[in-house]
């Protein structure tokens, strides 16, 4: 029965997500043509240069203005949604942010991409896939964690459709979104991914978004070169991500109206595109040029790398709806080309051509940004079906991830989540324990007292409830200390016998932190006070915390090892 439910969900979420991803790509390409962003559309008006120049500046600017206004007035979330929101929902089994916010975000993503903003399409596609999966949240079909699995299915199908890469789709869903490989999730996600592939390839016969053909690697030492390239792109990726994260808050300080922020970012894109049309939009043609030997001069490639990095950070930071993955592919491949030009052109090292370096750079950079080395390696494999190229890209990917993970974090998404207080840097279980707050485990019958209470009364009350310590509060309800009867023995009033509390938790203290601080603690309960004003909120017993820890541990193990 469960098998049927899971297969049904996988097929439904998979095909819906795949069709929606195709629709998004088509819509964007329609807008790109209509708004003179696509080269083929721009070239028809080549005889009217002023028209092309005007639209180049106006389209992204007005697009930005509309995107900003739509987010402000129509979206309850008031911002574009993306993979971090999906990860959060899946990890903590919460519903995604409202459907309306999701649809608005998808619409603005189509507009952002259509108007040529320097953002990517895969983030919105992942979110769109997740929306279809999230409908399973409403179903009660008796399968634990069904909604998370269904979202994983939607995401896998979207990626599989976009890249014509079903294996990469499966891995992306597990590596980035689900973060475990339970059979209960793996099987349906695989089914969904294959569904996406079938729809994209067999039914619609869509070409892959980019196709790479490469002769392979001719010199053994090139693997070492590619490893160095991995380190180079990692440094660039770290710079890019830091810039991206810094731009948002800075812009918010400078420009008060959010719609003007996006309009301004659009204007920057438009003005740059006057001289450098390659920065417009997803940059599919630029990505292709990167695989052709000598398509870019050295100076040109440096300018383009800088422009694309800054503009992408600006567009995403300002609030355009779109992801960072496609721009990452582009920037990474340009860095690869730059590296190849230096190595073969300037230093004169014989090499197997720009394509290998472009691909390795592309995947090294992108894997550092999305934190998915396996996915990136498999995307190369499925797109090129070339063993040599995949191995070269794999070397670049691992070296890039080594550096970026150490110096920045696992991925842009994880760092964005960490800024919202969800920290995956020490693993999935740690994040889960950290999501549980001790304040939710307060014991209702903990004993409190004031300094004026009679020691004997309090002692009797403690004995009646089986506690050994009472928490002493002042008149405002602030915690003063702990009273333990029989410590000095003879006091008549509680006030003369108050000792300091050895351990105090705040209302923000989470289970992970609490368990660490409990090490070496002797006593039956820990008081919890408000971090703001020190008001006593209650007490948690050590036994309750340990049970909560064990329960969550068991739940996670069940989820991660579920068969069907």
């Amino acid at each position: 029965m469960r098998m049927l439910v899971l297969t049904g969900i996988a097929l439904t979420a998979g095909s819906a997500a795949s069709l929606a991803a195709i629709a998004l790509v088509e819509l964007v390409s329609l807008l790109n043509t209509g708004l003179l962003v696509a080269p083929k559309a721009r070239v028809q008006w080549e005889s009217l240069p002023w028209l092309v120049a005007t639209t180049t500046v106006l389209v992204p600017t007005l697009g930005g203005l509309i995107v900003g206004l739509v987010h402000k007035h129509l979206s309850p979330a008031q911002r574009p949604l993306g993979p971090p929101d999906v990860i959060e929902a899946v990890q903590f089994h919460r519903p995604l942010p409202g459907l309306r916010s999701g649809l608005v975000s998808t619409g603005t993503a189509a507009l952002s991409l259509g108007a040529g903003a320097s953002v990517g399409q895969y983030g919105p596609m992942v979110y769109l896939g997740a929306i279809f999966g999230s409908f399973a949240h409403r179903l009660r079909l008796g399968v634990p964690n069904l909604a998370s699995i269904a979202i994983g299915c939607g995401v896998a199908a979207a990626i599989s459709t976009a890249f014509n890469a079903p294996i990469a789709g499966v891995l992306f869903a597990h590596e980035v979104v689900l973060r475990h490989y339970a059979t209960r999730a793996f099987a349906p996600v695989t089914v969904a991914s294959v569904t996406g592939y079938v729809i994209a390839n067999v039914i619609f016969e869509r070409p892959a978004l980019f196709r790479i053909e490469s002769p392979g690697i001719t010199h053994g030492y090139e693997f070492a070169l590619v490893a160095v390239l991995g380190l180079v792109v990692a440094m660039a990726a770290i710079l890019f991500m830091r810039l991206l994260l810094a731009v948002g808050p800075t812009l918010a300080r400078w420009i008060k109206w959010p719609e003007l922020r996006t309009a301004m970012a659009g204007l920057a894109v438009g003005l740059t595109a006057l001289a450098l049309p390659d920065v417009l939009g997803i940059g599919t043609s630029t990505l292709r040029f990167a695989t052709i030997d000598g398509a870019f001069g050295l100076g040109e490639v440096i300018v383009l790398i800088c422009a694309k990095t800054v503009l992408t950070a600006l567009c995403i930071g300002a609030g355009f709806s779109g992801g960072a993955f496609s721009p990452s592919l582009l920037i990474g491949s340009l860095i690869g080309v730059f590296f190849w030009t230096l190595a073969s052109g300037v230093a004169g090292v014989p090499s197997s051509g720009a394509a290998i370096y472009a691909i390795s750079g592309m995947m090294g950079f992108a894997s550092a940004v999305i934190g998915a080395p396996l996915t990136c390696i498999l995307i190369v494999f499925e797109l090129t079906r070339n063993y040599d190229v995949t191995i070269a890209a794999m070397v670049a990917v691992v070296f890039s991830n080594l550096l970026s993970h150490r110096a920045f974090g696992r991925s842009l998404f994880d760092v964005q989540l960490a800024r919202r207080g969800i920290d995956f840097s020490l693993g999935r279980d740690r994040a889960h324990f950290a999501a549980l707050k001790v304040v939710d485990y307060l014991q209702p019958d903990a004993v409190t007292a004031t300094a004026e209470d009679a020691a004997q009364d309090v002692s009797d009350r403690l004995q009646a409830r089986g506690w050994r310590e009472a928490f002493v509060l002042d008149t405002d309800g602030t915690l003063v200390g702990v009273f333990t009867p029989g410590a000095q023995g003879t006091a008549t009033r509680v006030g003369s016998d108050v000792g300091p509390a050895r351990l105090v938790f705040h209302d923000t203290t989470d289970l992970a932190e609490a368990m660490e601080r409990l090490r070496g603690f002797v006593g039956d309960a820990v008081p919890v006070v408000s971090q703001e004003n020190g008001t006593y909120l209650g007490a948690v017993s050590e036994a309750d915390l340990v049970s909560a820890w064990l329960d969550e541990g068991v739940r996670l193990r069940r989820e991660e090892n579920a068969a069907i």
């Binding site: 696509a38 721009r42 070239v43 028809q44 005889s47 043609s285 292709r288």
Partner: protein, 352 residues
């Protein structure tokens, strides 16, 4: 009988057109002769109409100048010319759904009828070589056209930017579906001309489409870019061992269209329905190697009555050819005419 054939027959019988006369405009030469034999004469016999065939140079400008005056009804056009003519209001609009069943519409390849034109046959710009020039390894890919180390010798190329720019990018490894997008950028054009520059000293230019086959035959060139029908002609007449490389073929589509000034719109439509039946297309393709634009017609193509050659292998869009194929983007051609000419002249002057 296929449903589509039935529909068209009904149209033929039911339409009150029997007394009307029709003027069909085409290109002349062997092409027109094949059309007469395969399509026009059977139509005249079936309907009892008198069909006059006129000749023109293929341009929409000629249609504008002579169409109304000379009483043109049905016109054979290149699809990009038809596109321009349609936009200028020179062609009669039609609704494909009223002429063809939905099955028939799906049968068309690589694209179906639009509001002004119905695809009728496919020709291709292909690369051909003189088999005598390469004793060992023969060229098999577009890359080989630009590889003068492995395949030395003069190349015959049309003195125009048509086709050769596409090949230049294909030879750089660009997948066919991205070629026109990339050629729309300045960088793409630069790269294409750079590639063309690598064989600059080996180029021998031609202007008349008959020349490249002759150049191969008389040894002035070892490889040539030209139209598949011309190469077929020379090779089949036994004048020279010319072989066609189908990789990188650029398929162009010929369409039927109706002049806006026609006095016999019903007869014109009936003619087009007749001409685009699988049987008509197949009859035409056995005369001359221009492929049908309907999938179902491929199975009917047999032996050329003059040479006895089975024609299927020589059709540019035959499904059995491997390699890369590009469908000539008529919209792009119509829009970039001046730009391409300008850049090409600049390159010829050595400034590109």
């Amino acid at each position: 009988m296929r449903r589509s054939d039935f529909v068209s027959l009904c149209l033929l019988v039911a339409a009150p057109v029997a007394a009307e006369d029709l003027t069909v405009v085409s290109w002349g030469g062997a092409y027109e002769a094949a059309q007469r034999h395969a399509i026009i004469d059977p139509y005249a016999r079936q309907t009892g109409q008198t069909v006059t065939v006129a000749e023109y140079d293929g341009s929409w400008a000629a249609l504008e100048a002579r169409g109304a005056e000379d009483g043109w009804d049905v016109i054979d056009m290149l699809s990009d010319q038809a596109r321009v003519a349609c936009a200028r209001g020179l062609l009669l609009e039609m609704t494909p759904r009223s002429l063809f069943s939905s099955e028939t519409l799906e049968d068309f390849t690589p694209f179906g009828p639009d509001r002004c034109a119905v695809p009728q046959n496919a020709y291709a710009r292909v690369m051909a070589f003189d088999d005598r020039a390469f004793a060992g390894v023969k060229p098999t890919r577009i890359e080989d056209f630009f590889d003068t180390d492995r395949f030395p010798g003069p190349r015959a190329i049309q003195r125009s930017p048509d086709g050769i720019l596409e090949w230049a990018l294909l030879a750089e490894g660009v997948p066919p579906e991205q070629v026109y997008g990339l050629l729309s950028t300045d960088r793409g054009l630069r790269l294409a001309f750079r590639k063309l520059g690598t064989i600059r000293d080996d180029i021998i230019w031609w202007e008349d489409p008959a020349e490249p086959a002759d150049m191969l035959a008389d040894g002035r060139a070892v490889m040539a870019a030209g139209f598949n029908g011309r190469f077929f002609d020379i090779a089949q007449r036994g004048r020279a061992p010319i072989d066609i490389v189908w990789d990188g073929r650029i398929i162009g589509i010929e369409v039927w269209a109706i002049a806006a000034s026609t006095k016999a719109p019903d007869a014109a439509r009936a003619f087009i329905v007749h001409a685009t039946q699988p049987a008509s297309m197949a009859r035409f393709a056995t005369q001359i190697p221009y492929g049908p634009t309907r999938v179902s017609a491929f199975n009917r193509i047999g032996i050329n009555p003059q040479t006895g050659v089975p024609m299927r292998a020589y059709l540019p869009n035959a499904p059995q050819h491997g390699g890369r194929a590009l469908v000539r983007d008529s919209g792009w051609y119509a829009n970039t005419d001046k730009l391409r000419q300008r850049r090409f002249s600049k390159w010829l002057d050595g400034a590109e």
